[in-house]
Symmetry: C2
């Protein structure tokens, strides 16, 4: 019998803000690795993302049953814990990168799967470069994830479609509500959504209005400087024509002086600064400017955790990118990221492509200017054509006694082999 | 051939804040009336609730197709428009009640179905009394609806179960999210929910935590005076034990001095009062008291409009009470309300009962004190047994291109026969 070399293990970690479908990517990674036991030994997950690798706090995913791993596909959040921890540049903190390689060596890790956004793509790229320069063989593949939809090359980012669906559905539902109440009560409903730098999520609010179901929606994008008079005129015109108006406002909207509208200086009774949202600020502007009765909501984590109304396209793509990452690594690819490639919008057809990390890291994809209508308050037909397929289909989790059954893993720790590392 | 008397018509109106399932009650009323054409002629709906009756602005529901009426069952909001318009007492404004009877006479209306909460039950009672005293035969039946769950006699109110399900599901999802982030980022998530006077909706947040899926949740009920030190100690203990904590806060929480916590005096940079929610106030208390990173959300209309995650029990009961209202009226009952009667909790069995309006009007059902744990921050086993059946089952609307297909009716106006009436 040939002396079969023991296959190398894999490391997988979740990074940054979690989503409704990042665990579907984890599911794709782990299920696919389990199908290739001759190539990949055990998948170790980082407890709380990359911090788990730095501190040698690894989770042995082989201790999880097949059904638990399968349930990751319908479980929101990051099952292994995520973190907001940006590794500095190789020059500024070579120590951390060398520690990663040290941990990988100690646990015979030859595959590095990093599931996150732009910063993580950069870390992933650096790990692959350092592996090469230190002569340690590591295949580093980035698995895309971000509700902000701002990674380049890929047509869209897993995580975004489900937020978009949640915002589109919620905007439609709340608009039906305010329309019912407008005669004697609330005439304007304001929904604050995520998106610090780009208006992708706010744009999804525009999907609530269709040819069949017209809804007067005013979107405030971070890409468009807030113009109070123009905004009030638009809301006023909608209320006059339709009896009501819905406003979808991105948390990242700025006034002409470049300041966040949300930071306009809310104070409590004692003069202390309040970390308010932008929705109550917009509400006050409407009250002062038009005297209309309003209600406002802030979706916050609800929007990115809402696995109960996840987009089927999104779940499938999150799984497919996780699966492809493993397949790429097995085939010997390094320093790459699986991408979603759109073949056609109607009907929606997509496939998985591959992008070199050097072209992904540190590049932000902004929303094209021709996705926003000339008045700055709506989405164009082109934008709609882009967005619609991404919210297509439902993918309901299983329920028990009225509640969705989300899995919690055992997350068994791997025995440490190295000394303590201070972050 | 016998000289068959033309059956009298019916009037139906929606009142107060709308819900995810009030249209399911409308569906029950209209479909059942259509099955008894020998007893009920046309169902006229009030455009914008009772205002439609006062101003003779009636909608002819016979112009709507069977499929449009069927679609009401899965459409949130009030399809005919609702209103916040409380009719004064008979003594204070007899003119309005007499106008109602005048409009009913003009349109041969012999049935009055009023779909709302406590105030509407009172109006419905008065209409039946006035009909009697004026010698005009009117069968007045109230159809229960309120997310506040505060009507007496009935085990629960249609509309509540779906809000409860939305809050329970959202609280679980957001808790999974914050748990993933807690290592390096957000440790406390605060969700503001409706319920000005009673903590029913806040209590539903407690359903997010079960034996299988334990979640550290602190509930702030309007029934319990806010005690800052006790609250901070509880949150701190949870964060120390679990790494994170979720807070579900009712908009109606008051401090010991009886003031709403939400009204503690937010000001903008110019010193103008801000109508903020209570969530940012609680967030500031946590930041100042514990220095923990937090996120907060305000569900507002999203919670009561969320037909996409409606409770199946709730939809069925909303329909059943609408249906029963018509059946009661046909049988000659007057001044009554269909109720939900619980036969057993496990398994959940219920049936429809009947309550006299005199016992419903002006009576508020508060949450029993033994539904709240001794420390004031949680729900008891008894509360859980009560709530769980109400969120049972899913009842998904149909989707097209990723969006729920909610119906909009034609709402054709009935020709007026009377002069103008000034409200």
């Amino acid at each position: 019998m040939a002396n079969a070399k023991k296959p190398m293990n894999a490391f997988y970690a979740q990074s940054g803000g979690v989503t409704a479908v990042i665990n579907a990517s984890a599911c794709g990674v782990i299920e696919t690795a389990r199908k290739h036991k001759n190539k990949i030994g055990t998948v170790y997950a980082g407890r709380n993302g990359i911090i788990g690798a730095l501190t040698e706090d690894l989770i042995d995913t082989s201790k999880e049953s097949a059904s638990a791993i399968k349930a990751l596909r319908h479980t929101p959040s990051g099952a292994f814990g995520s973190c907001r921890y940006k590794m500095k540049s190789l020059e500024a903190n070579r120590r951390e990168y060398e520690r990663l390689i040290e941990v990988f060596k100690a646990h015979n890790i030859g595959y590095f799967f990093y599931n996150g956004g732009g910063d993580s793509a950069d870390t992933c790229l650096k790990v692959s470069q350092l592996g090469e320069s230190m002569g340690y063989p590591i295949k580093a593949v980035h698995v895309p994830k971000t509700v902000d939809n701002d990674l380049p090359i890929t047509d869209n980012c897993p995580g975004f479609g489900s937020v978009a669906k949640y915002i589109a559905v919620s905007t439609r539902e709340a608009s039906f509500d305010v329309a019912s109440m407008a005669k004697t009560s609330t005439k304007v409903f304001i929904l604050e959504v995520m998106g610090r730098h780009a208006g992708w999520i706010a744009a999804a609010g525009g999907l609530a209005s269709t040819k069949d179901t017209e809804i007067p929606i005013v979107i405030l994008f971070p890409e468009v400087s807030f113009d109070k008079d123009k905004f009030l005129a638009k809301v006023d015109a909608n209320v006059k024509k339709f009896g009501y108006c819905t406003v979808v406002v991105s948390e990242g909207v700025k006034s002409a002086d470049g300041k966040f509208l949300a930071d306009q200086g809310l104070r409590d009774a004692f003069g202390h600064a309040q970390l308010g949202g932008v929705a109550p600020v917009v509400a006050s502007i409407i009250k002062d400017g038009l005297g209309l009765k309003y209600h406002w909501g802030v979706a916050d984590y609800l929007q990115r955790a809402a696995r109960h109304i996840a987009s089927k396209s999104d779940v499938e793509q999150a799984y497919a990118t996780g699966k492809a990452a493993v397949e790429f690594a097995i085939k010997g690819h390094n320093s790459v990221m699986p991408t979603v490639v759109r073949k056609s919008s109607k009907p929606y057809k997509w496939t998985i492509g591959m992008a070199p990390l050097a072209k992904v890291a540190n590049v932000e994809k902004m929303m094209p200017t021709d996705f926003i209508t000339a008045d700055g308050f709506g989405i164009t037909a082109k934008c709609r054509t882009y967005l619609e397929p991404l919210i297509k289909g439902e993918d309901y989790p299983p329920y028990k006694d009225g509640m969705p059954q989300y899995v919690r893993l055992k997350n068994v720790a791997v025995k440490k082999k190295l000394g303590v590392f201070k972050l």
